[in-house]
């Protein structure tokens, strides 16, 4: 070092140069550092804003479903118009419409155009109500009865502001006269606004105002029951075998690779399996909760197995060794000690797998669950519909009133999923042990 003829001045000059260069580079390096961090923050912000938009949009679209406009009409049952020998053949809808016309103080023309127009504002359910009343008590004919129920979907949409008077008459489904009547009924207090209980107590219907989610909720519950009873025991036992008993050989390797791959098979392939194997070969009834449950159980199985294995792995070996040490057999050690300790993790994993199965749609379309099913399913082998499929069916419907119901059905579905996830989190928080 000493033989280098460096003077002190040049050395400090050079140091200054280097410092200046480093500082100017440092600036750009720090700028790029900030930029990089910003990209990360931006990515998180984008992802979360998608979440907010998605959920916000569904809530704003669906919220109006929970409000319904109903009307209560006093209908005089004119014996001249009701043929007691053929009760089914009577046009009750027109009788109701005439009662509403009378209420409005209008007189119909000879062709009945006005009552036809009124009929379009009333749910056809009124007619069925009258029929049921008269069937139950024939003496009602000649008296005046009161029927009440929701207005037809279009009238409901008008009161909710979805159909606007400002838009041209030919582009709306309601004429100016119909809108006038609706306004008159509203201002006279005949139309009442209330909470839409029917949405939770009725099943699918071709009339939007009569459609509800009860059938789909019951169908989903039945299907999940089948899935839970199959996937959880089989999955847990398979995981116990693989984790605690299986010898490490090529056969168990095959099973292992297989399970990991099954977890990533597209769900629609399970639908094809259900169609090819369960329906065509084993003859399980189409579109039944039993069949849906079977297919979803096969889908949920890998998830349950993987979750159970990881919580079995988390139980320290000392527990097993202690049990074996005091004379328990391997089976006893596993079933009396290891598995109970792993249970919180198993339950959490199973509930999450079931929550996922609850939202699954694609495989159910394959096995015939898209058909229209009015009413609540009565048995595990009867045709049923489930919530996500109900969403799909309503989304495809052309009536605009079904769109708000779709969003509302999604809200119901999401509430159930959030509940299940909350249960899973509570189970994990309360019972999980860390060693």
């Amino acid at each position: 070092m000493t033989d280098l003829p460096i003077t002190t001045t040049t050395a400090s000059d050079r140091a200054r140069d280097i410092r200046a260069a480093v500082e100017s580079r440092l600036k750009t390096r720090h700028a790029s550092e900030r930029r990089f961090k910003l990209y990360g923050q931006l990515a998180i912000a984008i992802a979360l804003s998608f979440l907010v938009v998605l959920l916000g949009r569904i809530v704003t679209q669906g919220a109006s479903t929970f409000v319904v406009h109903s009307i209560s009409v006093q209908v005089p049952l004119d014996p001249a118009r009701i043929d007691k020998t053929a009760l089914e053949g009577v046009n009750y809808d027109i009788i109701v419409a005439d009662a509403v016309l009378a209420k409005l103080g209008e007189k119909d023309d000879d062709y009945g155009t006005k009552s036809e127009a009124i009929k379009d504002l009333m749910s056809p359910d009124f007619g069925f109500q009258l029929l049921d009343m008269i069937k139950a008590d024939a003496s009602l004919v000649g008296k005046t009865v009161t029927v009440s129920g929701p207005l037809r979907a279009n009238a409901d949409l008008y009161f909710k502001g979805e159909i606007k008077r400002s838009s041209p008459e030919e582009e709306r489904t309601l004429s100016n006269q119909q809108l006038d009547w609706l306004d008159a009924l509203k201002s006279s207090g005949a139309v009442t606004t209330g909470f839409n209980i029917g949405f939770f107590t009725k099943s699918d219907s071709t009339e939007p105002e009569q459609a509800g989610v009860l059938g789909a909720v019951v169908g989903s519950a039945m299907m999940l029951l089948v899935t839970a009873f199959l996937a959880v025991p089989i999955g847990v036992m398979a995981a116990v075998y693989l984790e605690e008993f299986a010898p490490k050989n090529s056969w168990t390797d095959v099973i292992e690779v297989n399970i990991n791959n099954l977890a990533a098979v597209p769900s629609i392939v399970y639908g094809l399996l259900g169609l090819g194997l369960f329906i065509n070969t084993l003859g399980v009834p189409r579109s039944s909760p039993l069949l849906g449950g079977l297919v979803l159980a096969l889908m949920a199985l890998p998830t349950v197995i993987i979750a159970t294995r990881s919580s079995l792995k988390a139980v320290p070996p000392s527990i097993r060794e202690a049990a074996l040490g005091v004379g328990a057999s391997r089976t006893q050690a596993v079933f009396h000690h290891v598995l109970p300790l792993a249970m919180p993790g198993v339950m959490t994993g199973s509930i999450l797998a079931l929550a996922h199965a609850l939202g699954e749609t694609a495989p159910l379309l394959m096995i015939g669950m898209v058909s229209f099913v009015p009413g609540v399913p009565h048995g595990f082998d009867q045709a049923a519909t489930v919530l996500p499929v109900q969403v799909f069916i309503w989304e495809n419907a052309s009536e605009r009133a079904f769109h708000e119901r779709t969003a509302a059905a999604i809200m119901v579905l999401l509430v159930f999923m959030i509940l299940m996830n909350a249960v899973a989190i509570i189970v994990r928080r309360r019972f999980e042990r860390r060693w």
Binding site: A43, L48, L54, N261, I268, V269, G283, S329, H356, N421
Partner: protein, 480 residues
């Protein structure tokens, strides 16, 4: 009803066997469990298992397959009068015979008087088979119960290794459960391959994979399916690829940068907030994304492009303006973007795990050399994590290819060979859904084509998954 009674009797017999076995074993030890090989309950369980399980399995098999067995017997000899009927009519005839035998509602088919006589005869025959089958099943069950009891009960004494025997049963049950997973895979492969083989006997695989004309509806009407050339699936593959690419363009950068931020920059508090929020996005059912795509994103994009097109009208880009003006709700872009949103949490949580498993020593070394955080991430962490991230992307691609609901609700049905994201495209999964929903003959080429598509889909996603899982696993081993 009869089945439930049988189950009840079987359960009662098993319980009885349990008590008897336990009592006998205890008796042989003079009432002192300490002198026995196993706990007394194991002796009882051992007998009960042999009494109950074989008979229960037989009952299960007879319930699942009994109806088909009876049907096969019934159709084995056909009265000569049936030869005049078509195959469907024959099928209906036999179904009605069974229904008549069981007192169920008949179909609405009308029968000639002489066929009706044959129907009555067949119904009687069916009743006979049904009774014989039931009696046979119950007799066999009785034999199994008795054999199980006699084969085990006399052997019980205090030195009998009952616990080991019972645990042998438990082992067998556990193994059977783990085999269910393998059987599922086999079931998938067999049902896909079986139906696909039938499909490929009428349409050549080369035509299916490379043909550019997809119109399965023609195939249904025309008997000459193969010659109509309606089963070239290339446009479907192209559409699937296009939607997948768009989805990955959204999910890739956003997911990766979220993962980098969460793993390297965010503090524990921010992590505890953002990670669960992202997981909500992953938990939303795909049908909800489909609804969002069809009724929110689709109309917004269409209006956006239409008004953008309006700006170009009359200018030098008039053609483009006209084109943009007639863009529809259903386009590849909408499906792709929404699918990308769905995949963000998938990419980010996988990448997050992988970035976290890069050893801290690598980062510390980089910081010690004076590198900034972003330089460390770009030059050290990402290159080290690259194979794992590639695996994560491959898994995301496999998800995108197999995703069904979003594309069904937002992409459309027209099979077009295009790379224009504003066009309506259709994908493999959409076609499977459309081919298999609704009522149709199961044997038509149209429904079989769905299985051909399903097989292709399964094969592609399987290869992607195997490769991706291998890469991820190899990478993990490297740093463990």
């Amino acid at each position: 009803m009869l089945t439930w009674i049988a189950i009840f009797i079987l359960a009662a017999l098993s319980a009885l066997a349990f008590l008897m076995g336990r009592r006998k074993a205890l008796g042989s030890a003079g009432g002192s469990p300490a002198k026995m090989h196993s706990l007394p309950g194991y002796y009882g369980t051992y007998v009960a298992l042999w009494v109950g399980v074989p008979a229960a399995l037989l009952l299960f098999v007879s319930v699942v397959f009994g109806g088909r067995f009876e049907y096969a017997l019934l159709t084995a000899n056909q009265p000569p009068i049936l030869h005049q009927l078509s195959i469907e009519q024959k099928e209906l005839f036999f179904q009605d015979a069974q229904a008549l035998a069981e007192g169920r509602q008949l179909s609405e088919a009308l029968y000639e008087p002489d066929v009706k006589v044959a129907l009555e005869a067949k119904a009687n025959e069916a009743r006979g088979y049904s009774n014989a089958f039931k009696q046979g099943t119950f007799a066999l069950m009785g034999v199994l119960v008795l054999a199980g009891f006699l084969g085990t009960f006399p052997r019980l004494n205090k030195d009998f290794r009952a616990r080991n025997r019972v645990e042998g049963w438990v082992d067998g049950l556990l193994m059977a459960c783990s085999i269910v997973a393998v059987v599922t895979t086999l079931g998938i492969i067999l049902s896909l391959v079986w139906e696909s083989l039938r499909f490929f006997s009428s349409v050549s695989p080369a035509e299916f994979l490379l043909g550019t004309h997809w119109s399965p509806q023609i195939g249904m009407r025309d008997d000459q399916v193969g010659s109509s050339g309606g089963f070239g699936a290339l446009p479907l593959f192209a559409g699937t690829f296009l939607v997948m690419m768009i989805a990955m363009c959204v999910a890739g950068p956003v997911g990766l940068f979220s993962a980098i931020y969460l793993a390297e920059y965010a503090g524990p508090k921010a992590r505890a907030v953002f990670k669960p929020l992202l997981e909500i996005l992953a938990g939303v059912p795909t049908v909800v994304y489909g609804f969002f795509a069809a009724l929110t994103v689709g109309p917004i994009f269409r209006q956006g492009f239409n008004s953008l097109g309006g700006l170009f009208l009359g200018g030098p880009l008039n053609e483009l303006g006209l084109y943009l003006g007639q863009v529809q709700n259903q386009m590849a872009l909408v499906a792709g973007v929404v699918m990308g949103i769905m995949l963000i949490p998938f990419v980010s949580s996988l990448s997050d795990d992988i970035i976290n498993s890069v050893p801290q020593a690598l980062r510390d070394g980089s910081y010690a050399m004076g590198a900034t955080k972003s330089e460390t991430v770009k030059k050290v962490v990402l290159p080290a994590a690259l194979p794992g991230i590639a695996g994560a992307f491959l898994l995301a691609i496999s998800r995108a290819i197999g995703e069904t609901m979003i594309v069904t609700m937002a992409a459309g049905l027209q099979a077009k060979l295009t790379i224009n994201p504003l066009e309506t495209v259709t994908t493999v999964t959409v076609q499977i859904v459309t081919l298999l929903t609704g009522d149709q003959e199961f044997d038509s080429s149209k429904t079989l084509a769905a299985f051909g598509l399903g097989l292709t889909l399964f094969a592609v996603t399987l290869i992607l998954n195997i490769v991706a899982l291998r890469i991820v696993q190899k990478y993990r081993e490297q740093y463990d």
